[in-house]
């Protein structure tokens, strides 16, 4: 199987994630879409690693997963905090930091 298929799949996943971030209002879904984008990146990295024939790309993918895990911790923590304060779980309403 040639590399293009992997790349196209990765690009599709990335575009889906980005589109989700842009059009959905729930912070939960936005977080999931972020994960989707990161994993699209991971897929591309792993595919390139296979193509080049060494493991460096895979190492990067593992690091990205670690970063993603950290980011989910922070993101979910925020969402829980927002939920506890009984604020609307809607990013368009949470705009007190506007200039």
């Amino acid at each position: 199987m040639s590399i293009e298929w992997y790349i196209v799949l990765s690009a599709l996943l990335f575009a889906t994630g980005a589109m989700g971030i842009l059009i959905r209002r729930s912070p939960m879904v936005i977080l999931l879409c972020l994960e989707l984008m990161l994993n699209a990146g991971n897929l591309a990295l792993v595919a390139f690693s296979r193509m080049v024939g060494n493991g460096e790309g895979q190492i990067f993918a593992v690091i990205v997963m670690v970063v993603a895990a950290c980011e989910v911790v922070v993101g979910l923590g925020l969402i829980v905090a927002i939920f506890r304060r009984r604020l609307p779980l809607n990013v368009d309403d949470l705009r007190e930091l506007r200039g």
Binding site: L22, L94, G99
Partner: protein, 671 residues
């Protein structure tokens, strides 16, 4: 010890006294502060005597020494030392200043006893003496200006001493502002001197000046005119005199010390000190002499009609300083300085006696309300008469010798200068009248209630009710700005009696040191200072001297007699004269409208310019620039702020679109 060491000590004691009293005002009892203040000046006087003795031990030609402690400022070719210049002239001034100051401190010790600001008063007074001594001992123009400005400040602080009195603070500000005009003149003169001669040092300047300038060259004329501005502002000469009568708002010892005996004569000292420059600009010297003449006549007419006891004496001070300015400007240097000395004696005395009477009147200064003090206050009256006799130049008194010395010199110089002699005698006649007008209005006659009380009971009761400022009727703030309810009259206070007694003796016999052809002590002492001056070489002949003395004595007696006729024999005559000469009286009583003229010519235009600048520059230009800048920043931030909408998704869109754009750009540019 050398004369310079003694002179440094002269400066040191008043400064130490001032600082000690100022820092220790909480710890020191009032009496101790008064003693410290008086003793420090007395010590300065003693050191002045020591310096005099040490100078007397030297050759008359070698009696000038410069001494400096350290560099005051030393940059780029400018070398100013903290230096003093000791010569007969400065020692003469030191002795007059410290001598009279000692007596006035002694007087204040009794007079100010119940004042709330006793410490403050003595600290200021010592500071003033220090500044005045710095002024006369300064060895260069910079230190002269420092001393000049210091005495201006001391004068301001002491005029406004009762600082809760509206009238006093206003008078203080007026004095300060007019004095600053003089300071500016002096500073500019010093700048010009430095530009032309490259030095501030007296020695160097006076040595180089005759070679550097030709007679009446415009630079030397400008220098001398600027010096005159300084001298006129400080010495209350026309038209910068209006602050002096108002300065009478200060406590009476202050009027006596600063506004009669010492500070106001600084201008005379300045002209005498820089006589080398004035001889190079004879036109300016003549301007100064004519101003002095005008002042002496104008002030004498004002003194004739003033009903305020202290203000009348203040105008008399102006008039007498007019004589001195005239004297030192026409070249009668020694005579001018001699008149400065005798004037310090009798004018300080007159103010002290007036202070005693004013204390008895509970700060009322209007002579219309006084009368009969001759019987009520014997000591005060006797000293007051002594002072008035000396002021009127009664034969044998100190003023008799000193005034005629100046007029005889003018006569000896001849030519145009005869005007000064003739009009000087006219002034002398007026002087005798106004001096004895005060005497005859205050001392004899029907006793006023206060005098009656003194005659009957020998003491005065304190006034009832809340204290008020007698001039305006506004209530006094008794915590700080208040002379005190007690009546400190000379009859009840030994220090006051001692000070007045000594001055009365000096006022009567002080002139005997300079009897023409007999001893000439002052002239011989000061002669080395005017060495090489062509004007100082002019001496009136003995005949001229004695004819002058004769005329002067006759005029004084005539004036006193005329005053007797007017105010004792026919007391209704002044009223008649007043009615007959209504316009003249109005002119004199309104002080020749100088205040109004200055208001119209200087104050109002200045205010108008200020308002114009406020309207145009402040409101349009400055405010425009400021609010323009502010508007720009605000507008720009308005635009930037709309981007910060708070919509997370729009941020994400911008981010993604941005990256996509970048990616596209790189893809396109790489292919």
């Amino acid at each position: 010890m050398s004369a310079t060491t003694w002179s440094w000590l002269v400066l040191l004691f008043p400064l130490l006294g001032s600082i000690t009293i100022a820092l220790g005002f909480k710890a020191l009892p009032a009496k101790v502060a008064g003693v410290i203040g008086t003793v420090s000046i007395a010590l300065a006087f003693a050191c002045g005597i020591a310096a005099l003795i040490s100078l007397l031990g030297e050759d008359p030609e070698a009696r000038h020494h410069a001494s400096s402690l350290w560099d005051y400022a030393s940059v780029a070719g400018l070398d100013i030392k903290l230096g003093i210049f000791v010569d007969p002239l400065s020692i003469f001034m030191v002795l007059v200043v410290t001598g009279v100051s000692t007596l006035i401190h002694l007087y204040s010790y009794g007079y100010m006893q119940s004042d709330e600001g006793y410490h403050r008063f003595f600290s200021y007074l010592n500071f003033f003496v220090f500044s005045m001594l710095l002024l006369v001992l300064a060895g260069n123009f910079v230190l002269l200006i420092v001393g000049w400005a210091f005495v201006g400040f001391a004068s301001y602080a002491l005029i406004s001493f009762w600082y809760r009195r509206e009238t006093a603070t206003r008078a203080g500000m007026k004095a300060f502002v007019i004095n600053v005009v003089g300071d500016i003149g002096l500073v500019l003169a010093a700048f010009l001197i430095f530009r032309e001669l490259g030095s501030f040092d007296y020695g160097t300047v006076f040595e180089r000046a005759p070679e550097a300038f030709t007679t009446n060259e415009w630079t030397i004329v400008a220098i001398c005119l600027l010096l005159l501005v300084g001298a006129f502002a400080k010495s209350a000469q026309l038209p910068l005199h209006t602050w002096l009568p108002d300065a009478m708002e200060g406590p009476t010892p202050v009027s006596s010390l600063i506004h009669a005996a010492t500070m106001v004569t600084a201008g005379v000292y300045l002209i005498a000190r820089t006589h080398v420059l004035f001889e190079l600009a004879p036109t300016v010297a003549d301007i100064a002499a004519f101003t002095g003449l005008a002042t002496l006549l104008v002030a004498a007419t004002m003194a004739l009609v003033m009903t305020d006891l202290k203000r009348a004496i203040a105008y008399s001070t102006m008039s007498q300083i007019g004589y001195m300015i005239m004297g030192v400007s026409i070249g009668a240097y020694s005579a001018g300085m001699f008149h400065l000395m005798t004037h310090a004696f009798f004018k300080a005395l007159l103010f002290m006696a007036a202070g005693s009477i004013i204390a008895a009147m509970a700060n009322e200064q209007n002579i219309d309300k006084m009368g009969g003090f001759g019987r009520a206050m014997r000591f005060t009256s006797i000293t007051f008469v002594c002072g008035a006799l000396a002021l009127a130049a009664f034969p044998g008194t100190s003023g008799f010798f000193s005034k005629d010395e100046i007029l005889a010199f003018a006569e000896a110089r001849g030519g145009m200068y005869l005007i000064f002699t003739v009009l000087g005698y006219v002034g002398a006649f007026l002087t005798a009248i106004y001096a004895f007008r005060l005497v005859f209005r205050v001392l004899p006659g029907r006793p006023c209630p206060e005098a009656q009380e003194l005659i009957e009971t020998g003491h005065l009761h304190h006034p009832h009710g809340p204290p008020v400022n007698p001039a305006t009727g506004e209530p006094e703030d008794t915590d700080v700005g208040f002379p005190g309810a007690e009546h400190h009259i000379a009859e009840g206070s030994l220090p006051m009696r001692v000070a007045m007694g000594v001055l009365a003796v000096l006022a009567l016999v002080g002139g005997l040191v300079q009897i023409p052809g007999v001893d000439d002590v002052v002239e011989k002492w000061l002669d080395p200072v005017w060495e090489g001056s062509p004007l100082a070489a002019i001496h009136p002949s003995l005949g001229q001297d004695y004819v002058g003395l004769g005329i002067g004595g006759f005029i004084a007696l005539a004036g006193i007699g005329f005053a007797y006729l007017l105010y004792v024999r026919r007391p209704e005559l002044p009223r008649t004269l007043e009615r007959r000469l209504r316009p003249l009286h109005t002119l004199f009583a309104n002080k020749w409208y100088f205040d109004e003229a200055i208001d119209l010519l200087v104050v109002r235009p200045a205010l108008a310019i200020g308002r114009f600048a406020n309207r145009v520059f402040e409101r349009v230009v400055v405010d425009g620039l400021v609010s323009g800048t502010e508007g720009t920043v605000r507008g720009a931030s308005e635009v930037v702020r709309t981007v910060q909408s708070g919509f997370v998704r729009s941020y994400a869109l911008l981010l993604i679109a941005g990256f996509a754009g970048l990616a596209l750009y790189f893809l396109l540019s790489s292919s």
